[in-house]
Amino acid sequence: MRRRRKTQGDEAEVDMTPMLDIVFIMLIFFIVTATFLDETGIDLTQPPPNDSPPPDNPSPAISVYVDGRNLCSVDGRRTECNRVPLQVERLLADKPGANIILKVHEAASHNNLVYMKDSFDSSGLQSKLEIIKETPA
């Protein structure tokens, strides 16, 4: 025998079931659509081109070049790519305060670009990135 409780002023029971259904559906929706991003990145954005004329006495520069076949050179001398940061440090001892110009051929691998930029950044060196476009022969 089922006996319903008499509804009294402060004992009215709200039926929670429909709300629970909706809440569960929302919960499952958010669980399924949730994507947890765990990204890290470095800044490769190039500063906008400077229109002001170059200074009269430009500071010395070290140029690092990565060509289309991923061969590296520092100031025109062929070097193994993973020895470039070392080579640059050595040249910096001769030319203190020199700017580093990192020239990367557009067909070089992304890995080399990030490696070079990162190694200069980690040793606190300012480097300017330049992408060399393939010139039609």
Partner: protein, 131 residues
């Protein structure tokens, strides 16, 4: 009266107390609402280069470049020349979003940097993804 009905425990009338479960479910729901980010994932997972100076980045726009130099946005491949209008609409949908370019280690530096340049041109703060 209330006392009488409570003492009479009927087999089919056992009432479960749902309140603690409801509390937990609500907390979970709120957690997932707050942490969920509705981003369009590129659909591919390139091998990222390694870097030591990288920083955490919470992007709203994700672009991947694979080793064939295809630019993947929202699970579709594009050519570099086609991505500008797509990025423009993505920026307009979410003007505050920051972006990340996920380049494969074997992608061409020219392609990745072209995407980064387009982003800079559209005034979207961009980083290049690393491990």
């Amino acid at each position: 009266m209330a006392r009488r009905s409570r003492t009479q425990v009927d087999q089919e009338d056992i009432e479960l107390n749902m309140t603690p479960m409801l509390d937990v479910v609500f907390i979970l729901l709120i957690f997932f609402i707050v942490t969920s980010v509705f981003v369009k994932t590129p659909g591919i997972d390139p091998t990222k280069p390694v870097a030591t100076t990288d920083q955490d980045w919470n992007p709203g726009i994700l672009i991947a470049v694979n080793n064939q130099n295809e630019v993947w946005i929202d699970k579709r491949p594009y050519d570099v020349s086609e991505v500008r209008p797509i990025l423009l609409t993505m920026r307009d949908e979410n003007p505050k979003a920051e972006a990340i370019v996920i380049g494969d280690i074997d992608a061409e530096a020219g392609t990745v940097m072209e995407v980064v340049d387009i982003m800079a041109d559209l005034k979207i703060t961009t980083r290049v993804s690393t491990q």
